[in-house]
């Protein structure tokens, strides 16, 4: 390929259309918040010109975990709760890939909780989207760890017993946390902004997205959807800037410096109003794949050399 063609090629490569990221026809329910998340992701991919063949969406099991099937990138629809370690393996083997993880509140915070805690520690460079609908969708309505106390579900017909777990405060309690944000499916513009910031952060970017599940918990977020004053927009020069259009609707704003972890933990505890924006960001936390020197090329000679050096230690030479 001549340099000029290469250049052209590159140019072409870097201009993708939304359709370049559209895979199978989504099979979520009408009004499901996952549709909005998918749209924001496809827009992100296009705007960041992610090469589809260099991009992998990894998921567990759940309605939300179907997302990779609807992308025209590589996808890994794994098993329940294990999306994160699968994604880590991919990233360690191939640090050059763009790795995204889609996981549900059951997938991440219940069966996958140990991996979630440790993924935060590893701080590998990937973007993790927690589709938090406060319910088990795919298995038809059981309480999840994030279900508000009193949620009636098929396993809690008289109401769930425990206060909801906050994925934000838990994440902020883990050493090495480097990026935590919250978005909601019903404000697509800020969702997109937050996903962009998450993608651009080098490290483990954890975005909790409050996601509507009209099928099973239709009223869960209604009060907030209908009352913009119950949304708390976090703004900061180092965070998200709320557009003038949005500012008119969402007038409840709070300046918050994402460098301040103590304040982030306090804000994270708020359930009403719902904070939206970047809670915490620390670009200084090293990535595990860098610490491990992943992705270096290696040669047969290197293997031979290491093997022979070791065998030398244990060899009994004939006399």
């Amino acid at each position: 390929m001549s340099a000029a063609t290469l250049c052209l090629h590159h140019f072409a490569e870097e201009n993708y259309a939304l359709e370049d990221y559209q895979g199978g026809v989504p099979r979520w329910c009408k009004g499901c918040g996952d549709n909005a998340i998918l749209a924001a992701i496809q827009r992100l991919c296009r705007d960041e010109s992610l090469r589809p063949e260099k991009t992998v969406f990894v998921s567990g099991i759940g309605c939300s975990s179907r997302l990779p099937h609807y992308m025209r990138t590589y996808g890994f629809h794994g098993i329940h709760g294990r999306a994160l370690p699968i994604a880590e393996g991919i990233k360690l083997a191939r640090p050059d890939l763009h790795v995204f993880v889609n996981t549900g509140d059951g997938d991440c915070c219940s069966i996958g909780a140990a991996h979630w805690i440790h993924a935060i520690r590893y701080n590998m460079n990937m973007t993790v989207l927690l589709h938090d609908n406060h319910i088990y969708g795919l298995t038809k309505k059981q309480a999840s760890p994030t279900s508000p106390v009193g949620t009636r579900s098929n396993t809690t017909p008289r109401g769930s017993y425990l206060d909801a777990l906050s994925p934000l405060t838990v994440t902020l309690g883990v050493q090495n946390v480097s990026f935590v944000a919250q978005a909601v499916d019903w404000i697509p513009e800020s969702l997109f902004q937050i996903l962009t910031a998450a993608y651009r952060h080098r490290g483990f970017s954890f975005v909790r997205i409050l996601q509507r599940c009209p099928e099973f918990v239709g009223n869960m977020f209604e009060p907030w959807v209908h009352d913009p004053q119950r949304m708390l927009m976090l703004t900061h020069a180092d965070g998200i800037r709320v557009s003038p259009a949005l500012q008119k609707i969402y007038r409840n704003q709070l300046p918050h410096d994402p460098a301040d972890i103590n304040r982030a933990r306090e804000i994270a505890s708020s359930e009403d109003p719902i904070p939206v924006g970047i809670l915490y960001r620390n670009p200084e936390v090293p990535c595990y794949e860098d610490l491990r020197g992943a992705g270096k090329l290696r040669t047969a000679d290197q293997v031979r050399g290491a093997l022979d050096a070791e065998l030398d230690k244990f060899t009994v030479w004939p006399q």
């Binding site: 990138t73 629809h77 098993i79 294990r82 991919i90 360690l92 083997a93 090329l297 290491a306 065998l311």
Partner: protein
Amino acid sequence: MNAVTPLPARASAARTGSTATVAKHLQTLDQHVIEIMSDSGEGAQKCGQSFGSIAARTGNGVWTVEIIPAEIQPPARSVAGASGNRIRIGSHQITNGGDEADIAVAFNEQVLLGRVNAGELKAGCIVLLENMWAEHEDAKIAGQYAETRDRLVAEGYRVYEVPMERECRSLVPDPRKGKNMFVLGMLCNIYSLDMDLARDQIAFIFGKKDAKVISSNVALLEAGWQWAESNLDFKYRVPAVKATVPQVVINGNTAVALGVLASGMDICAMYPITPATSASHYLSDVFERAGGIVHQAEDEIAACAFAIGASYTGRVAVTITSGPGYSLKQEGLGLAVMAEIPLVVVNVQRGGPSTGQPTKVEQGDLLTVMFGSHGDAPKVVMAPGTIEDCFYSMITARRLAETFNMVVVVLSDASLATAQQPFPRPQFSTEWLAPPVDQNPVPDGAKPYDWDPVTGLSRRFVPGQPNGMHTLTGLAHDRNSRVAYDPEINEQGMRAQHEARHAAEDSHAAASVRRPRGRTARGWLGRHQGRHRRGRGATARRRSPRLLHAPDVPATDAARHR
């Protein structure tokens, strides 16, 4: 009384503290089993391993087995505290540690008792017992010693009381730390081994320390030789055939680790568990130099998922564990089978069920690895029979996994893990390595699961390949990797996996690793030839043949395809 037998060449300061020269009875043996045990920290391990190395260099067949206490710091002089080695040497290749010991050397009578109670010593076995305890200031200890000695004599053991401590005292300030080389000298004498080899061995193991350490240990060695020469009425010769090629002496876990390295795998995900961990320890130390990475995951489930993720990118990753960890990986392994992601799993079996006996050998996991993941999830199972097998199995396993997009389980065990056995030094071949990860565009119209109707195989598309984008899933899926709700389509996929397994069996010659001496992987003889074990927790008695086992599935389907 003076020693009359001259010391062999290079002996400088022959010690003559012994009191009698005895008539020797020299016997030629085909094989013999020796045990050496002490409290932990007294060096019986080092003594045993050195003895094994010397015998190996002499050209004897050798198998050494670690005797490890189950606790980190067992109390001194305790029945459960025996730490040391069993060494079996022979005129021919030795493939296991044997049933019972012919000679036992013990630094105190309690650790000896542990082995007697466990039935590890042959009836009438020779016992060489440190006798310092007889006059111990603590009357209870002296009593225990006398009682045990008398009991052993009464039971027909040939007990020789050896003044190890006393003999070593004039040579080193702390005889507790020197006895082991004294014993090594004794054993060299008993088995008529070349003392030059023994001196070389000392130089090798203390090589990093200063010359004084070496010379004092050589002195201990020679003192032991001399004491045995003067005081023991027996001597053996195990004829040896000198090896003409270089031999390596390592244990099975080291062999597994080196096999991983040599196979070209570059990611190992693990979680610590006895008796598998030492393989990962060793790999953690050496892998990076070959560009590899050992990832200690948060648990076995994560280790398995991590390895699957790494494999998915076009590689073959490995995860190493033992029984309890294997049980936890069952669900993840089913995913690898369903999605046809190649993967190598090492299960170093230990005593079960449950936590069981972590340091004891058992071979109780064969059916577990064959059938343990729910649904029909066919895998290839290999069981190395020798230390050499442990090494080559890893190379074969990677290649099988890659060629057939399968999960390959290598079933080692606690005995192989810690046993040492010499084998010809492997000659690295670039054929052992995987081809580089394919990043070329996928041809138009090609499908991610385009199962070959005969072999059931399909080419895998990996991230980075333009045009190959698809979503892999653990759900039933069709040739396009689209979720299949139709039972027929699931049946197609399953059939492909079973066919691939059969293909793996049929084509072993292609997949197997060229080995020195023209052997290809031995023992792919069929199925269900599981190795024997002697009761529970006992040492494996028979170690051949090595088998490659591709499990039969219970469904009638599978039978149909044979």
